[in-house]
Symmetry: D2
Subunit: 278 residues, 4 copies
């Protein structure tokens, strides 16, 4: 994402938890505070709530560095509750806060094929638009900042639901004498074909769970965030619980490095199949 | 389907449980036996296992009428166990039996946009191909006759999984202040967009559960058939159980005439929402 | 049960699917029909619906042999639907039909410690009472014959729910550093202590799943019958589905000979524990 | 509990979030710190993790007041993670920390019929024993402090499992024409009879969900804590998820004041029954 910003001509001041990962052409900063100090737009993209909170609200965080009226676009997948907390903190500091979580695997990020759900004021979107355009193929406003973070969690929940469905479907196919790869290819060419389906179903059918595009522990994190949002809003999500249990079971067997589609390995084992085909 | 066969120039001898439903141009017969009597290819398309068994194995059924070497293409969605039973009965009678269950809503049938999963010998497919071509846009061989029936059940299970996922997703969106219709439209334009998703997700988001394209009791029938196949093959299908429970709950509230996507109404009520938006 | 009847002074005419299993003192008969021929009360106790149907309605079955006004007490665990069918068949034959399914493991049967839920007319119970008294410690009327069979399925469902709960509880205890056997003993001495809990919880905690008191496939049969009754009556039973899935998964791993409490082995494996402690 | 300590002759210094609730004979203190200042044993009993953390680690909390070598017995139901945190904080402060969560409804507390699972060193138990004896009928050591808190969560999870099982069982009974109260009474007199079963099953059968002995939101809290412990330890708990979803659904319908056994109302509604019988 930073490389795409640089390629589009933006001046980028970067801070990364692991020093030395700053892309060529960007100015490496010592802290989020320093990076935010002279920026018109601060973009944060980190792994989880703890990191997002630290990077934004911590002693050397974004809020401490951003000037009054400055803008923070939170692009990580974080909880609705934290998004609300960041919104309030920025408001109290006289700064602007928008959310812009992204959909797409790492390859999509490289190719500017991410798509963004945007939460924030329409005017603020105009400020961000050139940067977003440099990183993505589309931006979809859905409401206030916490709403866009909820939309992202909902999207990831829909993917989890698909992984579960395909996991069960391919286990049934395999034990019933069908070739699951062939079947998923047929389905993907017809009514079921979507980028998500065609990205995941053949891999699940082939039991290719490594290398991870999105690792199992991150999937568990997002299932948990969806369930927390559901609990706050009083919305039972039994399918989210089901996928969470299968992700947990995969981790209980030491599959931390597998892709989240590896939840299907647990479904396979419940059917008496090996976690991966030989 | 019969009308499309007639339009393609086939001579059609038809039998229907409800007399008088024979399409113009077809010869109405008094029984499946009579319809099968002088036919090169018998096609059956009925509502459930009981009907398929009666129509095929009953006193005045297909097997009684079909000449030696005659062909029966079972196009209904039936159980794997019954498909196997029909296969054996035809074999014993010196007749040919293939399976060709279809995907597509009634509108797709009218427009020849069904697609077919085919179970049977390649040579038999050549015999059937002109008739299949008159009714569908594509035929996909997947194995023996019971396998194609399993493939059909797997496809319907994948749709049920989608209905559940979208039901939970839209309930969460709605209670979280998002517009679920807008969100599903955005998702459908991007990674999630497939004919199935774009056919169902906006309707679920709009809580448009009537009129039924595929009625709730038929959905329950298919969820039950998938679970039975899973039990036989020792494959637990927790997502199928989840959707089955929601279909049952919808029927417990008298929603027999709703579309099977109406299982989302139960998810809504669990979240404290009305079954349909006002 | 037959031995207890003989010990109480009854004349017993017996038929068993496996010849030579007739207890000493009983008259071995060639068929259910023959056994029923000269009996005041016919008792059937068989493994499943198929056997119960065969033994009662088959060519040489009970109905064919029982005189007008004769009484049949169906003591097996069978489906509500079959119980209704038998009720109608006996009525049509001018015979009396009651249901009397039993609770208790084989040891309880030997020691006359079974207890019976009774479905039928109060007057018919008086006819049966001496025989029931010779085999059990208590008889509880609950309604018509199919209702007592439903009550039995409900009881077995409650046990399945307990097995699942204890399975999850002991897996959590074990991974959390507690001694699950000690914990279940403490719970069993206090608020949780019941014959069922104290019979099963320590064994699950000790992972003693063999020999079977009630084998896994029978547990699956009863979970399935409960779910069928639920489907007929439009009552979703998600806990029954959960236990059914775990029983299926245990069978998928070849544990046919284990006790139904062995469903806990699947819960253990999902937690990354071996199915049985070393 | 405080009244029972006073009745047994203990000197009690009390602090309550709601002033004026101090029982007669106890010395009312202005803060946990003050209450802890001159005490040999501090007992905390509060509603949730947030309160327990505040009361123990807050500015005017127990740790700030307790002398070196002083003892804190945490009797609330709290998370395993917080118990571990309190253990470390007390260790760092040179104080002793044990856990002693209790089982029993408010009536049991009044009648000294609580029972305690104890986590801590055997020597520390001897210090606490007289106080525990004044409040309960039994103390069961199970390991270190966080383990006893886990044991308590496991116990409450077992109760939740029972509530779910009985909820489904009684809905099925009612729709099948059985009298659920009568059936639960029969079961309670026989194999299923335990204090927990006999305390809850007849009430669920009678749909008596008010007044609450233990309110629904507290049940949700404990289901959530069990699931969190399971997530930390990598133990999927599908039955806990199921009950959590039903508790959430009950709260989504505004049943905050109902007893946690009111989760059965949701099971009833899924079966098309009214939440409570008229």
């Amino acid at each position: 994402m930073a490389r795409n910003l640089l390629a589009a001509g933006f001046r980028v001041r970067a801070w990364n938890r692991t020093p030395g990962k700053t892309p060529q052409g960007a100015i490496e900063c010592a802290s989020p505070r320093e990076a935010a100090g002279q920026s018109e737009l601060v973009i944060t993209m980190v792994a989880d709530d703890a990191a997002a909170e630290q990077v934004t609200l911590g002693e050397n965080g974004v809020i401490a560095g951003l000037p009054k009226g400055g803008m923070h676009a939170a692009m990580s997948t974080i909880s609705v509750a934290l998004s609300r907390k960041l919104q309030e903190a920025h408001r109290a500091a006289g700064q602007r806060y928008v959310s812009a979580p992204v959909f797409g695997r790492p390859e999509a990020a490289e190719k500017k094929q991410l798509w963004i759900v945007y939460g924030g004021a329409p005017a603020d979107l105009e400020t961000c638009r050139p940067a977003f355009a440099a990183m993505s193929q589309g931006v979809y406003p859905v409401g206030a900042p916490p709403q866009a973070h909820l939309a992202k969690l909902i999207g990831n929940f829909l993917i989890l639901g698909l992984l579960e469905a395909v996991g069960e479907a391919t286990a049934l196919a395999e034990k019933g004498g069908l070739d699951p790869r062939e079947l998923m290819t047929i389905f993907g060419k017809n009514s079921f074909g979507s980028p998500v389906f065609n990205g995941y179903a053949p891999r699940i059918a082939a039991t290719e769970f490594e290398p991870a595009g999105f690792a199992l522990p991150l999937g568990l994190k997002d299932a948990t965030l969806a369930l927390q949002a559901g609990a706050e809003l009083r919305v039972p999500l039994p399918l989210a619980s089901l996928t969470r249990d299968h992700l947990l079971a995969a981790l209980a067997r030491g599959r931390e490095s597998w892709d989240w589609s590896g939840l299907a390995s647990v479904v396979r084992e419940a059917a008496g199949l090996p976690p991966r085909r030989a």
